[in-house]
């Protein structure tokens, strides 16, 4: 490499670094702008309609110190996690089962696809009627809302698997179980991860909505009971905490995605 080329390379690198700084600065500026707009809006609308961001922050600190916020977060997370696990397990297992039963698949596919259209939240009264007012109706809601995106993605993913890879695996002596685990699972992983990006935030949202309707703990209950007491700051606190929760989950998911797809020839800078 000549010194001229080296200089060019160096200039290119510093330009990229400056661009990175500019992006970060822009992001911070945007957050500041949003917070400013929130503060301005809260001042105009008054404390009954919009909470002041500083008061929300104070409330978060106070509730965290008293332990009540952590308890609500724990309740909501536990509900989301169990419901997610059930919905996700069914959403993955069912397509694998149907793969072995092509005739059953043809028979039930239109019904499953039609049932996607049933508004799940509208079923909550029924769930309460059938399953009582403990965790069960909320778990059904979360489970169903997670099940559909996962099922549809895994189902499509299985159909999309390269038949030639399956034939190759059979010829070299792979059992059906090994083919499912190695070829099919790895082929549909991108579909599955895309579904998780929808299903995970949904699980938290569904848990919160379930808590609006049933029970006396969790972030949803906290938001709803604050509203009942005209405690707008409490409502905003719940929303901020719930949003932060979903953001943390998404960040974790992006990490997992990157790790599982490390082999992929994609441009890393394009990651969502």
């Amino acid at each position: 490499m000549t010194s001229q080329e080296a200089a060019l390379d160096l200039r290119e690198a510093s330009r990229l670094r400056w661009r990175q700084y500019a992006v970060t600065a822009g992001r911070i500026g945007l957050v500041a702008l949003l917070l400013g707009a929130w503060k301005l809006g809260a001042d105009i609308a008054g404390p009954l309609y919009a909470a002041d961001p500083l008061e929300v922050l104070e409330r978060i600190v106070a509730d965290t110190l008293s332990g009540s916020l952590l308890h609500h977060i724990y309740v909501t997370l536990r509900l989301s996690a169990i419901g997610f696990a059930i919905g996700c397990a069914c959403g993955v297992a069912l397509p694998f089962l149907l793969r072995r039963l092509p005739r059953l698949t043809i028979a039930v596919e239109p019904y499953i696809m039609a049932s996607v259209g049933v508004p799940k939240y509208a079923l909550v009264p029924l769930f309460i009627l059938w399953f009582g007012i403990d965790d069960a109706p909320k778990l059904w809601l979360v489970g169903l809302l997670v099940f559909y995106p996962v099922f549809i993605a895994v189902f499509a993913g299985i159909r999309n698997v390269d038949r030639r890879l399956i034939a190759m695996a059979r010829v070299v002596g792979a059992s059906e179980a090994a083919i499912s685990r190695e070829v099919i699972w790895n082929s549909l992983l991108p579909f599955f991860l895309a579904a998780l990006k929808i299903a995970l935030p949904r699980a938290v949202s569904a848990a919160i909505i379930g808590e609006f309707l049933v029970g006396n703990e969790g972030l949803g209950y906290m938001i709803e009971s604050s509203r009942n007491n005209f405690d707008t700051t409490g409502v905003f606190t719940g929303i901020v905490v719930a949003t932060a929760l979903v953001l943390v989950i998404n960040t974790a998911l992006v990490r997992i995605d990157r790790r599982l797809n490390a082999w992929r020839p994609t441009d890393r800078h394009m990651g969502l």
Partner: protein
């Protein structure tokens, strides 16, 4: 009387199932018969679309024949019964397909070890064999590369040794070097002959390149236009070991080339 052939195909025929809205498929293969003996290197040549891949798929039991008979070690393959197929005949027939079919999420080494892993034969000895093959085809240093990081020729080599690593007694090869440049191709042909002379397997090698068919085979079959059947059979008098690069200058080459050429339409 000689021992029965290792692999025997008699009066084989194939047509694909019709799909709604399409005319019934015509016969791809009809009345095709040949036999392969143990340790033979058979090359099959035919025009494109002459059912070469279809034939290999039926030999490997990935696909089922519509009629006739396929016998391996005197055991008949199911006819017109996709459910009864035994792909690879319990690892006795290896198949190097036209596409490399490497698992894109596995590295070169993991791809090569894949058959051993699913056959539960992964141990120090087989691992050593895999390493030996990787070195033999010049993939040393690329063990931890993913397929998309390899060149076309490297992928072909990886898929070739993925089959060699578990040592099936018969190997089917479907134009494995078709899409490569002349030099890489000659190199790989050389590698293949060397590996074959070490292990003396039975190889059925399909190609559309007459020179390649002559350079590699003990015997060459010529397929007719579809519906495919055997249009000609040529024993190859060129002695081994052969010099692939100089094969065209061999005195027997021209005559053999001409007579095969006359039958390939």
């Amino acid at each position: 009387m000689a021992a029965p052939p290792l692999l025997e195909v008699r009066d084989l025929s194939k047509r694909f199932a019709t799909r709604a809205g399409r005319d019934p498929s015509s016969w791809v293969i009809q009345g095709l018969s040949f036999a392969v003996s143990d340790g033979e290197f058979l090359t099959i040549i035919g025009p494109s679309g002459s059912g070469k891949t279809t034939l290999l798929n039926m030999l490997a039991q990935i696909d089922t024949a519509s009629g006739g008979e396929v016998r391996f070690q005197s055991e008949a393959a199911p006819i017109d019964d996709p459910k009864g197929l035994n792909p690879g005949l319990s690892c006795k027939i290896g198949y190097v397909t036209q596409e490399d079919n490497l698992l894109p999420w596995r590295t070169t080494l993991q791809n090569v070890l894949f058959p051993l892993m699913v056959q539960r034969r992964l141990n120090d000895e087989t691992r050593e064999r895999a390493q030996m093959l990787i070195r033999a085809v010049g993939l040393a240093g690329f063990e931890n590369h993913y397929p998309h990081e390899l060149s076309g020729g490297m992928k072909k080599r990886a898929s070739l040794i993925r089959t060699l690593v578990y040592d099936p007694p018969v190997i089917l090869m479907d134009e494995p070097f078709g899409a490569l440049d002349a030099q890489t191709r000659a190199q790989l042909q050389d590698d293949l002959l060397r590996l074959w002379s070490l292990g003396r397997k039975t190889i059925i090698f399909v190609t559309h390149d007459i020179a390649e068919a002559i350079a590699l085979g003990d015997r060459t079959l010529v397929l007719s236009r579809p519906p495919a059947s055997i249009a000609g059979e040529h024993n190859n008098p060129i002695p081994r070991p052969r010099d692939i690069a100089g094969i065209m200058t061999h005195p027997e080459f021209a005559a053999l080339y001409q007579s095969i050429r006359a039958q390939v339409q």
